[in-house]
């Protein structure tokens, strides 16, 4: 014990100036990270506060003064219904499509095709939503009339396809499809990334058991990417809920609350309604629109929180 010179002692105190500088870098960075986190919270609550304050008159006004004369809740409910319905179609169409595209790119396509296809899918995100709207009105809508007629003929017993089919194609069905295409790039980008990170030893384990490629995907890739699929779907759903111009252009709006997806009478969505009504509104009508924005904000928040708890539960189940 006593043979050790003091200079052999391991230095736990002191340290050079450079060491201390490095530690300062740590502190600066953690400060920046904290700052950005706080900023996000401030921005979020700022938006909520703005919506609440500006929309307050509408929430407290006499029901007869609200457009429709039936109070705010009755005003916003059909819009919320339309918002959720169109987004639900978008999710139902867009997410399986996005997952299929991702699986194809990661596991099936030859490398060159995979890269090109990936780039094209990413490009879909760069198209302005007004262009999607125009495409929906001018191309997809008319093209979908035939399919919608077929749906009415063969699946007309379902409330969704009761008809009568409109010949303009400007239906909830078309709007949902366009929204589905619009959310495809973001969902596909996330799932593609995660699928490609499936551990190689799991993939090989499945294949060595004599799994086909599709069986391998079901055994390893999809379970591995499950929480990412949910997360990506929420991102897509968020985009679909808030999408404005495409829906405003495509839907022929009557304000009906109906599950009938292929006829001329459709509910509007909150975002589209704001965009269409805002220019011609003043006074309390503006407050009503802002309050409807608050409702949209709340819907998005609830959906996100629900998704988070779904993910958390799925992850706990996986462990």
């Amino acid at each position: 014990m006593s043979t050790a010179e003091p200079s052999d002692k391991i230095a736990l105190t002191g340290g050079s100036r450079r060491d201390r500088m490095r530690r300062m870098g740590d502190q600066v960075f953690s400060g920046l990270a904290l700052g950005s986190g706080v900023l996000i919270l401030v921005a979020l609550s700022g938006v909520a506060l703005f919506l609440l304050i500006q929309g307050w008159p509408a929430l407290t006004a006499d029901p007869s003064q609200i457009p429709g004369g039936d109070g705010f809740v009755n005003y916003v409910a059909p819009l919320a219904f339309g918002t959720i319905l169109s987004s639900a179609i978008a999710v139902l169409v867009g997410i399986p499509m996005a997952i299929a595209v991702s699986l194809f790119i990661v596991f099936y396509a030859p490398k060159r095709i995979a890269q090109t296809l990936g780039a094209f899918v990413d490009l879909l995100a760069a198209i302005p939503s007004i262009v999607y709207g125009l495409w929906g009105v001018a191309v997809l809508g008319p093209a979908m009339v035939g399919l919608q007629g077929w749906l009415e003929g063969h699946l007309g017993f379902l409330p969704f396809f009761k008809g009568p089919v409109t010949t303009t194609g400007r239906t909830m069905f078309t709007a949902g499809l366009v929204l589905g295409v619009m959310i495809l790039p973001i969902v596909s980008a996330v799932t593609r990334e995660v699928f490609s990170q499936t551990p190689r030893k799991l993939i090989e384990g499945a294949l060595a058991l004599g799994a086909t490629r599709w069986e391998m995907i079901r055994m390893t890739v999809l379970p591995f990417g499950r929480s990412a699929i949910v997360g990506a779907s929420m991102l897509g759903l968020g985009r679909a809920l808030g999408e404005t111009m495409a829906v405003a252009l495509i839907l022929s709006i009557s304000g009906d609350v109906t599950f009938n997806l292929i006829s001329a009478g459709n509910p509007s969505t909150i975002a589209a309604n704001i965009a269409l009504k805002f220019p011609e509104s003043s006074g309390l009508a503006v407050d009503v629109l802002i309050a409807s924005g608050l409702a949209l904000f709340a819907i998005t928040l609830v959906v996100n929180m629900a998704a988070r708890s779904v993910i958390a539960r799925a992850e706990r189940g996986a462990r």
Binding site: K111, P199, K201, L202, E204, G205, A206, L207, A208, L209, G210, A211, T212, E215, M219, T220, P223, F224, R226, A318, R319
Partner: protein
């Protein structure tokens, strides 16, 4: 080509062992490899392998790191071709059938020739039971619940794991120890009742006791299966295998070649090749 001593040996077939013809209804060869060359793109990894692998025996592959043991092993059940650019030439026959013939489905080859990997890879989202059942439920096979229970129990017993897990079959496979996970992977492999089981250093991540358990298991398994195992552990090869194949790269580097293949007794007792002797006595590699 056969300028070197080594080349001559391979060309004249002196390196090929003659296995005991008593098992498998008198057949002496279960897996036959003829003139096998294995490539990664432009890289020639393994050259000119000729080997007759005996049924119901453990064949050990030894050799220094990078000589192509894993590459060779993975070419025996067409796992090699999953790597982009990878290809093989030559013949690999299972019971006389070329597994690389154009009309052969690699999926079916892998069902007949199973594989256990170096690091245990149970499916993390599946229970112990589901891990073992995973292979059985593949390829659209319909099997009743009670039948499945039976096979799972049989496979877990076959992998000497049943007693340790029988009370927590619904528990996660990833919750087992490393050695248990590896035996779970062996159970998963035998559950589909393959003909051959390939193992790539299956005990290299395990402690001596778990390793011993795997070695004991090999002696059990070879009653029903043909086993090819890669190992860096000389004692393990000497103890647990019936035949040993020594691989090495030439003096100018890859490709790796089969230097000597004979009964384990011969390879470790009286090897006929100097390189083999040097390797098994630990003088290099």
């Amino acid at each position: 080509m056969p300028e070197t001593e080594l080349g001559q040996q391979i060309a004249t077939g002196t390196a090929v062992a003659t296995p005991d013809p008593s098992s498998r209804g008198g057949r002496t060869t279960h897996l036959r490899v003829k003139g096998l060359n294995v490539h990664y793109g432009d890289f020639h990894a393994v050259a000119d392998i000729n080997m007759d692998i005996a049924p119901n025996a453990v064949t050990a592959l030894i050799g220094s790191s990078g000589c192509g043991k894993s590459t060779f092993l993975r070419s025996l059940n067409r796992m090699h071709e999953l790597i982009p650019g990878a290809r093989t030439e030559g013949l690999v026959e299972l019971d006389g059938q070329d597994i690389y013939a154009p009309d052969v489905d690699p999926v079916l080859v892998r069902r007949k020739i199973g594989m256990v990997f170096q690091s245990p890879n149970p499916f993390p989202t599946m229970s112990i039971y589901d891990n073992v059942a995973a292979g059985i439920k593949l390829n659209g096979s319909r099997i009743s619940r009670s039948e499945l229970d039976g096979v799972v129990e049989w496979a877990l017993k076959g992998a000497s794991l049943w007693d340790e897990v029988k009370d927590r079959l619904k528990g996660p496979g990833a919750g087992l120890s490393g050695g248990q996970q590896q035996r779970l992977c062996i159970a998963r492999a035998i559950a589909v009742q393959p003909e051959v089981i390939l193992m790539d250093e299956p005990a290299s991540a395990l402690d001596p006791i778990a390793t011993q358990a795997i070695e004991d298991l090999l002696l059990e398994l070879k009653k029903d299966y043909t086993i090819v195992i890669v190992t860096h552990n000389m004692q393990q090869a000497a103890r647990a295998s019936d035949y040993t194949a020594f691989f090495n790269v030439g003096p100018d580097g890859p490709p790796g070649r089969l230097i000597e293949f004979d009964t384990t007794q011969k390879i470790f007792g009286a090897p006929s090749n100097e390189q083999t002797a040097a390797y098994v006595t630990g003088r290099f590699g």
